[in-house]
Amino acid sequence: MPTTEPREKFIVPIGPQHPALKEPGHFEFTVDGEIVTGATARLGYVHRGIEKGTEDRSWVQNLYLLERICGICSHSHALAYALGVEKLAGVEAPPRAQAIRVLVAELERIHSHLLWLGVAAHEAGFDTLFMYSWRDRETVMDLLENLTGNRVNYSANVLGGVKFDVSVEQADAIRRGLDFLEERTQHYLTVVTTDSMFLRRTRGIATMSKQQAEALGVIGPTARASDVPRDVRVESPYAAYTTFPVEAVLATAGDLEARFLVRVKELFESYRVIREILDRMPAGDLTARMPRRVKEGETVSRIEAPRGELFYFIKSGGGDRPERVKARTPSMFNFASVLTLAVGHQLADIPMIMAGIDPCFSCNDRLVVVNRIGHEADVWTWEKLRQYGIEYYRR
């Protein structure tokens, strides 16, 4: 299906400017006139060969490797891996450890959503909101550091439980931090829903209907923004989500504004769950004994990372090293479905579709090769595509 005339691949090497989460990527859109006929992506700039790395490391060492797949959802990866291995080994982490795991997971969700709010605002050139939301994010980073000792990559998980306990002072500090954050989130909710500049960039853009979302298999907040109730915490609750249930936050509009709304409202949901956990924290010890060798078998472990469902497949051959660990990150899934959504869309909608799924890497510097059928491929920078999109909508 790719177009016949040879497309010369040209990757822009210039260092990106003002990096929010920039990881270079490369997207190729085949265009017929205005309509996108084909879209592929070339990732791999950050491919470190982790899945192969897991096969020559022991079960415990893998925990630290898998935490560094992604800096923002490191706890999610460690949690999914730990739950999978515990299921394989037939070990059940004590309830207090499960509750602390969920506590750190929700704190990480707050940190990730606030970070995305800043990045999206920055993408629209709204630096003041970027500065403010990142300043407030420092509060949740302090909470995480106070609790786990590190701002990012907090490695709370140990196979069979958690590394630390939550003392009363830490719980109070978290409650105070959450009160401040809740009031700030209320402010951001009003900004996101009323600020005219923002609405011009988000309302009615890249709308995805419920059927489209289901057919494409979009997951996470992007799916919930199109009224598709896909939330692993609700569908198949893991760790302590059974004792502290979560309500899936849904919106019906399915456009970019709805995706903003879902993420900001999820913050409130996270605050509620964290307060509940702190109030009804079950007593008990922190870890359960874990055998060095995991018995033979395979398992699937799914959890809800800030960006969507994180899928882990772990196979053990009975030794002290895993046979195979497969991690399918939510962004890879969202990208795949978003690129298929792009087909048939206007070229002008592409930037907003991309920004909407909160890609794990917001490639500010990625380059889009647009080859119009008929004349040779011209190479657009990300910005030109963005600008083209905006001008297109102006006409």
């Binding site: 260092g15 990096p19 270079p24």
Partner: protein, 178 residues
Amino acid sequence: MALNLEKSWQDALEQIKTWARVNSPWLVHFNSGSCNGCDIEILATLTPRYDLERFGVKLQGSPRHADVLICTGPVTRQARDRLLRVYEQMPEPKFVVAVGSCALSGGAFQGCYNIVGGIDEVLPVDAYIPGCPPRPEAIIDGVVKLLQNIQSGKHVRPAPPAPPSNGHRAENTDEEAA
């Protein structure tokens, strides 16, 4: 007499140049495979709480405007020649700061098949900032230490690394004489 007049004039000029270089270090940031933990910490140094602009540090877009190349992440094979190209585009005098243990030595990903190793496998590195990820204070401290070294003239230029051992060499790795 004329000679040392000439000499003192030269020193004074050198003094001013170093003062200017130390007081307005502009950064360009390149991520060659990092898990973006270090990237968000670098960005956190610009937000209100840490605000590097106090030291005159500004994050520039184009390598042409930058003095310090701040790199994060183990150098993946795919990002290798891009890193070199960015480095070569920067005008002299340029410095390289490696942030995070991945940039120092490949970090947790050492031994993975797609990793070339730390930044010093590809570029001459002037300052290393360990940590996974290093706290914003550590990053600021690293940059300030580099500036102090430049100021006091103690800074000696590291030799560019040996060409990559595993055969395939990007065609333009021999940078001009540093």
